[in-house]
């Protein structure tokens, strides 16, 4: 039997994988991308909560001990299901020390050195600034409440074509209107046009080193409807492997490979950060919103618009102040969280304290259109640790799609708990002022803390004791294996991380191309970028555009 080979094998097609695929394919390398999830596009993105629709097909929800992770599971990864908020990380983030007592980021990276790479990603996606006419009712409400409390509030830079956006708030199921500029519109079609091959429903399990210094990658085929079922598998040999399976999966693949690859750096599967994320749900007093904030929709309603919009559009950045001590710097971002994935965690004031169930919660649910969700992004302590890997994938799958139980444990330190408490108090101060709302955090009792932005489980750094990758994103002690996804980010960012993950991936590319050349791959780096004006959306092979 012939052995299948490629130059570069990329695991995962989210930001880290897509950017690598683009540059290596346009540079001339043979690139194969293995993606665990299905290949979906506009006609597959459903406005439907039924199990088995895109709302569950495109997601992975892995419950751990103390932390649960929601992430993308389709071609395009998180970019297909995310809210497309794309701010840069503030300057102080790069100077963070966390709990290790010295700078966590590599000396070569700070905001100034990363800005050119931020610029590149921003032009390729592209990232746009919003006007106040783009801001949803929920964002307007949050801005008005911030102003009422003497705070500032910023429209968040986004990867959305607001001319196409219908404010349906279904973007977590994939954008049916092609308004969200996911990776299906830029890097991935550019990579495929240059010859990269994407194989959906291929879940990489482990790597094995070859005598020539390359790697054999072992994968299983995942059933397209029931992800609990695998139907055979195979191997591909590659000269270079780029892991971009996401911070909840990349370290698991490496841990499972340890028997054949040899010892992993200590930081593989350690220092996981949930990006310090936590959610609060406010119940708006509609009368006070009108009286205090002057809100009026024009149809007799002051707000009652939880369902309307496009995710987070307004953020409060007043606490992104480098002069404040670590763990007291955070952003507060208005957010939409749809039914099904988080409503159960919202807490109502009960007779015996906050409650997530029962009649008080039911009364809160009656007011669902008056909910305002506030997303806190604080500095956590990188306290997550992955236990032994499950037999396949990154979780013991429970449901047909989406839901599984994984090996991550996360026991928040007093630093993280203090940061959340400070942010909780700040949200209360803004929203309970003048009786605008009552607000409570989501419970951490049921599924632990909840992150949609897993980071740092295989991070870059200068210190081999606390980082798995060098500042070129190469896995220490395992030349030819690179990691370019969120797991490479050293620590929580205090803002949405997609642009930083992408900028780091862009920054890593010249070095990875040089490593590929050194391994005999005919490839060059010319610094080109996908042109959003001329790039046609990526289509699954055998399909034609809806407008054709």
């Amino acid at each position: 039997m012939s052995t299948e080979t490629t130059d570069v094998l990329i695991v995962g097609s989210g930001f880290g994988g897509a950017i690598a695929a683009y540059h290596l394919a346009t540079g001339g390398a043979k690139v194969t991308v293995l993606e665990r999830g299905p290949w979906l596009q506009a006609e597959d993105f459903d406005h439907d909560y039924l199990l088995g629709k895109s709302y569950t097909r495109a997601f992975d929800f892995v419950a751990g001990d103390g932390m649960s992770i929601l992430s993308g599971n389709c071609v395009g990864g998180g970019s297909v299901v995310y809210f497309a908020a794309l701010p840069r990380a503030p300057r102080f983030v790069f100077e963070r020390q966390g709990s290790i007592g010295r700078r966590m980021w590599p000396a070569a990276i700070d905001r100034d050195t990363l800005d050119p790479w931020y610029d590149r990603v921003s032009s390729a996606i592209p990232v746009k600034q919003q006007t106040w006419d783009d801001i949803s009712y929920a964002g307007g409400l949050w801005a008005a409440a911030c102003d009422n409390a003497g705070r500032t509030a910023n429209p968040v830079p986004v990867g959305i074509d607001n001319g196409k956006c219908t404010n349906c708030n279904w973007m977590m199921a994939g954008c049916k209107f092609d308004a969200k500029k996911s990776l299906l519109f830029n890097y991935l079609p550019g990579a495929v046009a240059a010859g990269a091959e994407i194989r959906p429903l291929h879940e990489v399990q482990r790597l094995e080193r070859l005598d020539d210094g390359g790697y054999r990658v072992h994968y299983l085929h995942v059933d397209e409807e029931d992800y609990r079922i695998t139907t055979g598998g195979g191997t591909i040999e590659a000269k270079i492997v780029i892991l971009a399976a996401g911070a909840g999966a990349t370290p698991v693949i490496l841990q499972r490979s340890e028997a054949e690859l040899g010892p992993m750096p200590h930081a593989v599967g350690r220092y996981f950060s949930g990006n310090g994320e936590r959610l609060n749900t406010a119940i708006i007093n509609e009368d006070r919103a009108r009286e205090v904030l002057g809100l009026e929709r024009g149809d007799g309603k002051a707000y009652e618009a939880n369902q309307i919009g496009k995710g987070p559009v307004i953020a409060s950045w007043d606490r992104l102040d480098g002069s404040l001590p670590e763990y007291r710097r955070y952003s507060l971002e208005q957010l939409y969280f749809p039914p099904g994935l988080g409503t159960i965690l919202a807490q109502a004031p009960g007779a015996d304290g906050p409650t997530w169930l029962g009649p008080a919660k039911k009364e809160m649910l009656r007011r669902w259109q008056s909910w305002l969700t506030i997303f806190q992004i604080v500095e956590d302590d990188n306290e997550g640790v992955f236990g032994p890997p499950p037999p396949t994938g990154n979780a013991y799958r429970i449901s047909q799609q989406m839901l599984g139980r994984g090996p991550l444990s996360y026991d928040p330190t007093p630093n993280t708990l203090g940061a959340w408490a400070a942010a909780d108090a700040d949200v209360r101060d803004i929203l309970e002022r003048d009786g605008i709302a009552t607000v409570l955090p989501w419970t951490n009792d049921l599924v632990g803390a909840y992150t949609v932005h897993p980071l740092s489980s295989c991070r870059i750094g200068d210190d081999p004791a606390t980082s798995a990758l060098d500042d070129r994103h190469e896995l220490r002690g395992h030349p030819g294996i690179f990691v370019t996804d969120g797991s490479a980010v050293p620590a929580a960012l205090t803002v949405n991380p997609a642009l930083t993950i992408s900028a780091l991936a862009e920054r890593a590319m010249p070095g990875i191309v040089a490593a590929a050349q050194a391994r005999g791959i005919k490839v060059s780096y010319d610094g080109s970028l996908p042109d959003p004006a001329t790039t046609k959306p990526l289509l699954r092979p055998g399909t034609v555009p809806l407008s054709a």
Binding site: L50, T56, A143, N154, T166, C168, I398, D445
Partner: protein
């Protein structure tokens, strides 16, 4: 328990009582024992929690019988601990008053409980039946007047089944941006 009660009846009424504790509704008839009747309108049971729990895509259907047995065992122990005398004509969990059902579920789902993950899953799917009707198509749910979607006031789609909101913005600047905002619109 009444000797004429079948295992299937025990399973159904116990799971209904659990679902009704997560999102309570009103009794379907005066003799309804599963639903405690602490809320008006439909709750998780009327929203299809049992159909949801029996949907094969959830992955918990095969474990329901053991969960029911364990739940009734916990209810018996809880009642003994609290000095509560249970009505033996219904399963022990059903025999508990609403506040005791809720207290027991909070114990079972608290961090550190060895069976926590199973009870959280059960609660999660009961809640999903109410807030998103994930066991049926959202369009069918709306057409049928699904109690949960009606209760939360979920807006109707347009004629083609898709949601679009023509009016979505106050169209006003409500706050000053942070003074350190850069030209890219990001924090400095």
């Amino acid at each position: 328990m009444h000797s004429g009660t079948s295992d299937e009846q025990v399973k159904t009424i116990t799971l209904e009582a659990f679902a009704d504790t997560i999102v309570p509704g009103e009794k379907r008839d005066p003799d309804d024992r599963a639903i405690a009747g602490v809320s008006t309108g439909g709750g998780a049971v009327q929203s299809g929690a049992l159909e949801m729990l029996h949907h094969p895509a959830t992955g918990i259907t095969a474990g329901l019988e053991s969960l029911v047995g364990m739940l009734n065992g916990h209810a018996t122990a809880y009642a003994a601990d609290k000095g509560i005398t249970l009505d033996e004509t219904v399963p022990p969990f059903v025999a508990l008053e609403f506040d005791d059902r809720a207290a027991l579920i909070k114990i079972l789902t608290a961090p550190g409980h060895p069976e926590k993950s199973g009870w959280v899953l059960l609660a999660l799917f009961c809640n999903m039946a109410f807030d998103s009707a994930a066991h049926i198509s959202t369009h069918d749910a709306i057409a049928q007047g699904h109690p949960g979607l009606l209760t939360i006031g979920f807006e109707l789609p347009q004629k083609d089944g898709l949601w679009r909101f023509k009016d979505y913005s106050y169209g006003r600047q409500f706050a000053k941006p942070h003074p350190d905002t850069t030209a890219t619109g990001s924090p400095a």
